[in-house]
Amino acid sequence: MNDCKNIKKDLVAYIYNDIDEKKKSLIQKHLRSCPECRREVEELKEVLLCADTLKKDIEETVESEDWEALPSRIANHVFAQTKNHLKENKFKRFLNSIFTVKLAPVYAALLAGIVIGGVVTFMLLQSGKSPEGTSPTRFMVSKEFIETMDVEMARRETLDYLEQSKYLLLDFVQTPPEKAAQYWRSDFVEAKTSELLSKKKYMNQQLDKYHMAKAKAICDQIEMLLRELARMSRDLTPAEGARIQELIEQRQLLLKINIIKKEIQQSEV
């Protein structure tokens, strides 16, 4: 019985005759005396005989293939595939050469530098201070600051306009009426009048924008007066000159100019 158990696992190898001679003789000897194992061998042979029925199909299918053409077809496929594979490998090798372990400390130091630099810049921007020992090359100013500056510039322009107009009119008022026409025809007064008139054009926009209504009203009056005087200057009679001087005094134009100037100066930034 023990013999049966020992030889059983070798019976298929025995049928295939793929077994060493020593074992083969042992099995043959055992089979002569053991009908049960002989029956087992017969049954196994029967199974293998049935399995043989597929052999013919397999052989026929193998022979039906075009084996002469296949190597070329396979080679085409393989070389096309590996070409792409080589390209990928080249790229991988390039990446590997960049991200090699040897260069890891360099990348770590670079990364640390970027992080530290970023943090320091952030902190400096937060505190609004530039690094010690270095002078800032750029100023960052707020929109409000720029607006305040514009208002201040407009005020100063207006003050300057009023000041110059005041002196021009003051000189006119103090000029004898018979010399009024001569005064307005002089080169200096003509140039000054022209300058003030063109300045007023530019100022109109600012006066409206910053709601300087009072200043605008007086400036408009001055503008009208100067424009009229410039137009009439060549034909201005002494009587007309005296009349205009009288009007300036009656309307207290110079006083109004002074008051407006003062108001503007008081509200100076």
Partner: protein
């Protein structure tokens, strides 16, 4: 093809492998020509399907080409190439065929053939036996099935099967015995009528 490729008898396979490794198309085609039938026969007997077998042949040579630098010269080239083919067969089997096989193959189908015999239709026909064998083969666990087809349909020696699978010769014998024995159990109801 004969003119293009070089006879394997003249050239040592190691030389061909070395040349193919460096992109020699002719050498590669010679290797393909030498082993394509072996691989096809193994894959076809394993899957019983021509398309699967042809895919395995192509994939095997693609892998062979990529892995040529791993080939150890003291090893049998045929066994090395068959090992690659066997691995691809197992991968494919696990991927595509396992579920299908489990669905379509089972004792009931074998029983149906047996019942047909009882009704007195054409008995013991060769086609019926083929169908039974084919189904029984597919019932075997993948390793037993591979060993059985290597031995029975590809006439490989146990020693070569052991090298190809990387296991001991005794294990191969034992697994093949289990395979044949399992087939016998599956076929017994049918065989009983024939004996």
């Amino acid at each position: 093809m004969q003119g293009q490729t070089i006879s394997a008898d003249i050239h040592n396979i190691s030389v061909l492998a070395e040349r193919a490794k460096h992109g020699d198309r002719e050498a590669f085609m010679t290797i393909t020509n030498m082993y394509q039938k072996n691989i096809f026969q193994l894959a076809y007997s394993f899957f019983q399907n021509r398309e699967d077998a042809l895919d395995i042949v192509q994939d095997t040579f693609l892998r062979v080409y990529k892995k040529l630098h791993h080939y150890e010269k003291d090893r049998s080239f045929k066994n090395w190439i068959l090992q690659i083919a066997k691995n691809l067969c197992i991968d494919r089997y696990r991927k595509n065929h396992k579920k299908h096989d489990q669905k379509s193959i089972g004792g009931t189908e074998i029983e149906e053939i047996h019942l047909t015999d009882e009704k007195g239709t054409e008995r013991n026909s060769n086609t019926d036996i083929k169908r039974i064998v084919s189904k029984c083969l597919k019932e075997l666990p993948e390793r037993q099935r591979m060993i059985f087809v290597m031995k029975h349909y590809n006439d490989l020696k146990y020693k070569d099967i052991a090298e190809t699978l990387g296991i001991a010769v005794g294990t191969v014998k034992s697994l093949n015995f289990k395979a044949v024995n399992k087939m016998r159990n599956l076929m017994n109801p049918y065989l009983g009528r024939q004996l």
